[in-house]
């Protein structure tokens, strides 16, 4: 019989896969034609944007599975946890840059409606800085959790290396 300790990581990875791979894959079919036309006019490459999200989603799902199956005291758990934090930052950067990761939260596009040219710029760089801060703190936390688990698992009187 499969233990719940092994079912949980598989379940978490499945949820990640559904949210960040299956949903972006199916999304274009559900976008109304007029919204789709606006996206095309704005110059945002929706396919490229969704492909990036799906790639990061698939990587995150794999990391979630590895992390869940590895023991908390294992170095694999620590590496997977750190990688998970980095992938969440990449995901945020893609999302805030509307597919352009290098824009660092500044979205720019131009639309042509009838005779008018409409240039739009949105600066959300502060959220990128906050995300970087959260990821840095999360990495420190991952290390602390791993270290605490090793201390708890060590026999009495032994200090883990």
């Amino acid at each position: 019989m499969i233990s719940s300790k092994k079912i949980r990581p598989v379940f978490s990875a499945m949820i990640t896969l559904i949210l960040f791979v299956v949903v972006p894959y199916l999304l274009p079919d559900y976008i109304p034609p007029h919204i789709n036309a606006l996206i095309v006019e704005s110059g945002i490459d929706l396919d490229w944007f969704l492909n990036q999200l799906m790639v990061v989603g698939a990587v995150t799902a794999a990391i979630t599975l590895v992390k869940g199956l590895a023991g908390k005291t294992s170095p694999v758990w620590l590496l997977a946890s750190l990688a998970q934090n980095v992938s969440s930052l990449v995901f945020t950067l893609i999302l805030l840059g509307a597919g352009n990761i290098m824009s660092l939260g500044v979205v720019e596009f131009t639309m042509y409606v009838e005779n008018a040219t409409n240039y739009i710029m949105m600066n959300m760089r502060v959220l990128v800085y906050l995300s970087i801060e959260v990821v840095a703190l999360s990495m420190i936390r991952s290390y602390l959790v791993w270290r605490e688990a090793r201390v708890e698992a060590a026999p009495p009187g032994r200090i883990p290396a």
């Binding site: 040219t117 710029m121 949105m122 959300m124 959260v134 703190l137 602390l144």
Partner: protein, 150 residues
Amino acid sequence: MKASRILGIGIMIIQLVSVVGFTAGFHTIFEVYNTAIPGGAGGGTEIEMTDPVVIPYSVSPRNRGYLAAELTVTFSLVAEEEVIATESMEVTIPPREQASIDLELTIPLSTAQTYLGEGSNAEWVLELGITTLYDLVTFSNIITMPGGAQ
């Protein structure tokens, strides 16, 4: 309490504040922008050929959001990359309040006849800049429309 748990709570608080700030900022920008765009600016307005020609631009943006917003509106007539006339106004709209923006472009009749006549390549340029969340989130929209008679 373990150090990792304390840090975890701190991270959760930062994430919560970010999400709330982000949502409130977006909502404020959306509300102010929606009411700062007029039914028709420049090209859509009937222009009276008096001397000087006065082209008004009036809007009453309302901030239905929960954060104060700073709105900058610049209205210009531009031809061949040269600014013929421009006027700008900056207002701070507190949450749940409304502001009034009245701009007037004053152009000598001869200049107006040159640039607002048929076949002219002059353009109306309307720039809207909205900053909120203590100047941390910025939105900018530049609308360019043909200025000459079509």
